[in-house]
């Protein structure tokens, strides 16, 4: 397992696309920091009545969906970037190969997600200073931890979802399209459904699940633990399908 994991790590860090994903996440953090700073400048130059209507200057809320998508793309790359023939000649034990890929994607997703969230929340905090709500939505680190934890969990889930889909469909492009539909396409459609399906369907979409897991939604359709369960189902279904494909199909 140690050798298989070392090989997967080497594979991941020796293709340009991986570093492209990391650079894109870094760019999003920087863009988020700039956006947060611009909101604060606008806030400071606005009259008090308008200041009360300002949105939060916390950029982590803006960048999280993009980081989810980028990490899912990374998961897809781990699944599809090498021809299966070569990978299986080197590591013919398919369960071991799958375990190595899963551990690598899980660790990478959590690290990238945690670093992106920490930098984003940190720069937002610096920009917001001691300004009051609503532009500064939280007082201290304790207030933001549930949201940050839920966001990192969702990033882990999308990374593993990308891996599972990639193993199942064996195409980076198709995987990225499906992830885009799951993260952005369907959540844009579900609020347009007739009642009560609009609420029920939206409640199980990844962007809403993050808020439900964080427990910061008033009267949420799903309790935090139930929302965690739904996120786990995303992994179970996609990674399960990918596992069956890898274990049963010819290379």
């Amino acid at each position: 397992m140690k050798n298989a994991l070392a090989a997967e790590w080497l594979k991941l860090r020796t293709v340009r696309a991986s570093w492209g994903v990391v650079a894109a996440i870094g760019s999003m953090v920087a863009a988020g920091a700039l956006l947060s700073w611009l909101i604060v400048q606008d806030y400071d130059s606005s009259p008090a009545a308008e200041q009360a209507k300002f949105a939060s200057a916390d950029s982590s809320v803006v960048i999280t969906p993009v980081v989810q998508f980028l990490v899912a793309a990374l998961g897809a790359l781990v699944a599809t970037s090498d021809p299966r023939l070569t990978a299986l000649i080197a590591v013919p034990d398919r369960k071991r190969l799958l375990a190595a890929k899963t551990v690598l994607v899980a660790v990478t997703s959590v690290v990238l997600g945690a670093v992106a969230l920490a930098l984003s929340i940190g720069t937002s905090r610096l920009n917001m200073g001691d300004r009051p709500p609503p532009i500064a939505p939280w007082d201290g680190i304790g207030d933001v931890l549930p949201w940050a934890g839920a966001a990192v969990l969702s990033i882990l889930v999308t990374g593993l979802t990308g891996l599972g889909l990639g193993l199942a469909v064996r195409s980076t492009a198709v995987t990225i399209v499906v992830v885009g539909v799951l993260l952005w396409g369907l959540p844009a459609i579900t609020p347009m459904l007739p009642e009560p399906w609009d609420v029920d369907a939206s409640a199980v979409m990844v962007p809403y699940l993050v808020w439900e897991v964080a427990g910061v939604v008033e009267d949420p359709p799903l309790a935090p633990l139930a929302a965690v369960g739904v996120l786990a189902m995303y992994v179970l279904v996609t990674l399960g399908t990918g596992t069956v494909t890898l274990l049963r199909r010819d290379a």
Binding site: S81, P83, L85, I89, V91, P92, R94, D250
Partner: protein, 233 residues
């Protein structure tokens, strides 16, 4: 040693390999001959556990390939030189394969020099010629210094220098006592390289014999065509 016992592979109604049995011995280059679509590549893929047999089994050193611990230390294989990530550098390609079997960096560097790719080790694979990719694939097969080597159509697309290089390499590996199993449909090349031949057609064994016995009364090409056209035996 490679042992293939009653190997069968069916894809729906099509039978690619039917009840195939033969043994590949160490110290010899064994040519695996047959027309296109005869089941040579499918058989090699089943030996390496890439495709699941519908029936029978293939063993390397008495064990299934998938059950070997650090398999590259037992078996080296070059099935498809294009089965690589073309954006990765040549040395990095060898390094991940080496890492997967606990083989050190020094061995990968040494092999790149040995196959004549030392000067391009930091080039991306897409920049390499077909011959260079074949050499890279051979280097990957040799990483674990294995006792068994398998090559699927290794001279396809190579220039005369590359063809001779592969031929000399296979002869040298067999001389060291290794098991060398090479598929081809190029009779002239096999006549120069192989000591023993396994001939298949339509997924079935046609002949397993020393090269000498097959070419005693004529060329390998004549004997092969007679056997695979169904007039022989």
């Amino acid at each position: 040693m490679i042992e293939v016992r009653n190997l069968t592979k069916r894809y729906g109604d099509t039978t690619a390999v039917r009840d195939l049995s033969f043994t590949v011995h160490p110290g010899l280059v064994t040519g695996f001959l047959g027309p296109n679509g005869a089941g040579k590549s499918t058989t090699m893929r089943m030996i390496l556990g890439l495709d699941r047999p519908t029936g029978g089994e293939a063993l390397v050193g008495g064990r299934r390939y998938a059950d070997l611990d650090r398999p590259l230390r037992h078996v080296g294989a070059l099935l498809d030189p294009a089965a690589v990530h073309h954006g990765r550098k040549a040395l990095d390609h060898l390094l991940w394969i080496a890492a997967s079997n606990g083989i050190g960096r020094a061995r990968a560097v040494e092999l790149l020099e040995q196959v004549g790719l030392g000067g391009v080790r930091h080039k991306r694979i897409r920049a390499l010629s077909l011959g260079m990719k074949q050499r890279l694939g051979v280097a990957a097969a040799l990483l674990g210094d294995p006792g068994v080597l398998m090559f699927d159509e290794p001279v396809n697309g190579l220039d005369p220098e590359g063809v001779r290089w592969i031929r000399d390499l296979m002869r040298a590996l067999a001389k060291e006592g290794r098991t060398v199993f090479v598929s081809s449909h190029l009779m002239s090349e096999m006549a120069l390289t192989a000591d023993h031949v396994v001939i298949v057609a339509r997924g079935q064994l046609v002949k397993e014999t020393p090269m000498e016995a097959l070419t005693r009364h004529g060329s390998l090409e004549d004997a092969y065509l007679e056997l695979t056209s169904g007039r022989g035996l």
